[in-house]
């Protein structure tokens, strides 16, 4: 057994290297096999992502009222500018149209003049030619009219597009304008829910009303209720307050806050409610 010293060392190193490579290969293999199994578990949790989006929307709307207002003002300005531009464009188009019409009239007059001159010279001979010219002229006119119409159509289309984009850009803003009735509807809903949970105190009288300030979170959960203006009857105030607390959560408002968080933030994050039950019999 005459193994050279160096060769033996080399053999040991290569053996150790082989061991190392094998170990790493094994580990990588294990990971590759194990990983795919884990990834299938992960997919089950996908639906949670929706909620993550909601959390993002909330603080922005809450914290940046000022910026919102600025944005709104910018949107209004933009719209005004757009309208102005549109008006200018319209005016220009009208001018062009008028010019074209004038031109057409002039041409017609000229043609007629020529024709009359010609008719003076050779009436019968030109009868057919005149007819042809007339037809041609008519065609030209028709063409022009069609052109004008097409341009108008185009303009209308671009205007409609601009309007649509403007609508898009300030979608929320317009939606807010439209949503006045929506807000009223929700207010009614809130009122109904409160009245449904209200225990009428004995001392309650017709015409009593108390103004409550209610704070909600986007889930519709009531987080605070205070009496802003007392009805003069502490028992009535307390009963109203307790009714709100008893409702606890306005389910429909959660839908609202999901559909248009801005509207919710503006109208229902903190709002005043005039509590005036109508079904007082006394």
């Amino acid at each position: 057994m005459r193994i050279s010293n160096d060769l033996k060392k080399l053999a040991i190193y290569s053996l150790a290297g082989l061991f190392s490579v094998a170990l790493h290969g094994f580990v990588v293999f294990l990971l590759l096999v194990g990983w795919t199994e884990k990834s299938s578990i992960k997919q089950v949790q996908r639906p949670n992502f929706v909620q993550a989006r909601l959390i993002r929307m909330e603080p922005r709307a809450q914290a940046q009222d000022k910026r919102l207002a600025k944005k709104k003002a910018a949107a209004v300005k933009k719209r005004a500018e757009q309208q102005r531009r549109e008006k200018a464009r319209k005016k220009k188009a009208a001018e062009r149209k008028k010019a074209e019409r004038k031109k057409a009239v002039q041409k017609k007059a000229r043609d007629e003049k020529v024709r009359r001159d010609k008719a003076l010279k050779k009436k019968q001979a030109d009868a057919r030619a005149k007819k042809a010219a007339e037809q041609k002229k008519k065609e030209v006119q028709e063409k022009q009219a069609r052109e004008v119409q097409r341009q108008q159509e185009l303009q209308r289309q671009t205007r409609a597009q601009a309007l649509a984009s403007a609508l898009d850009s300030e979608d929320e803003f317009l939606a807010d304008e439209e949503s006045g009735s929506l807000v009223q509807g929700y207010q009614q809903y809130i009122q109904q829910r409160i009245i449904a949970n209200w225990n009428r105190p004995l001392s309650a009288r017709r015409g009593m009303e108390t103004i409550l300030s209610i704070q909600l979170v986007p889930t519709g959960q009531v987080v605070g209720v205070t009496v802003l203006k007392s009805s003069g009857n502490p028992a009535f105030d307390l009963s109203a307050q307790q009714a709100v607390k008893k409702v606890g959560r306005f389910d429909k408002l959660q839908d609202l806050s999901q559909q248009s968080p801005r509207l919710f933030e503006r109208s229902f994050r903190q709002f005043q409610l005039v509590f005036r039950p109508d079904d007082l019999r006394l």
Binding site: M1, R2, I3, S4, N5, K8, I12, Y13, L15, A16, G17, F19, S20, V21, L23, H24, V27, L31, L32, W35, T36, S39, S40, K42, Q43, R46, N48, F49, A52, R53, R56
Partner: protein, 229 residues
């Protein structure tokens, strides 16, 4: 399972270049450190076995000249003479050389012998400790390298997030997952290296201590011989 794009392989391949570089470095470090571990393990086992065998023969009452000659024969056969036998051989050689010429001061003989053995000992210690600094380096540095890769990857994925309109978890998750692989690899390289370094440096220390003890014993043996004659 409709979607399986999130496999480890695709994550590694899809990683950004610096992260891939980090992963490559860590893989290399891990492989080399395992090579060192294998080599060290084998060498230290060999050395401790050899020490036991040599000590057995040494204290069995064998003639020291015989033992020395036997080692020379093995050396001529190109076989390995390692560890404590080297200490013995260099000490004995020096001792013989110094005692050959008559009238040398016994203290001078002992001094020379001790010096020779000290040199051999320090050489053996060096052999015992080879590669251990490398293991220590891998153990301490590779988590940082991995962490760097992770931080870089997360940085990139958040930078990508900045331009997104909708920041869902699904957008960032693959990037972070990819980045975290770097840390995992750093730890994967570091943990065995730490264990091996601690184990092997302790073993090497113990073995060196035994060599040292042997050298002392051998010195006292020679001391007796030089003063009795």
């Amino acid at each position: 399972m409709p979607e399986q794009q999130l496999s480890l392989l695709s994550l590694v391949i899809g990683a950004s270049v610096p992260v891939q570089l980090v992963m490559f470095i860590l893989l290399l470090a891990s492989m080399v450190s395992w090579l060192m571990i294998g080599q060290r393990w084998w060498y230290l086992r060999q050395m401790s076995g050899g020490f036991k065998a040599f000590e057995g023969t040494f204290w069995s009452g064998i003639d020291l000249n015989e033992l020395f000659r036997e080692g020379s024969v093995r050396l001529n056969d190109n076989e390995v003479v390692d560890g404590v036998e080297n200490v013995f051989r260099s000490g004995f050689r020096e001792f013989n050389r110094l005692t050959k010429n008559e009238g040398t001061d016994p203290d001078a003989v002992m001094e020379g012998t001790e010096r020779a053995m000290r040199v051999a000992l320090s050489r053996e210690e060096e052999k015992l400790n080879t590669h251990l600094p490398f293991l220590a380096s891998v153990a301490s540095v590779s988590p940082y390298i991995g962490l760097f890769g992770t931080v870089w990857g997360i940085m990139q994925s958040f930078r990508g997030l900045a331009t997104m309109q909708q920041a869902t978890l699904a957008v960032v998750a693959p990037g972070i997952s990819e980045a975290l692989i770097a840390t995992a690899m750093g730890l994967f390289a570091a943990i065995p290296a730490v264990l091996a370094y601690n184990r092997f440096s302790a073993d090497a220390d113990a073995l060196y201590g035994r060599y040292d003890t042997f050298a002392d014993e051998f010195t006292s043996l020679l001391h007796r011989r030089v003063h009795s004659s």
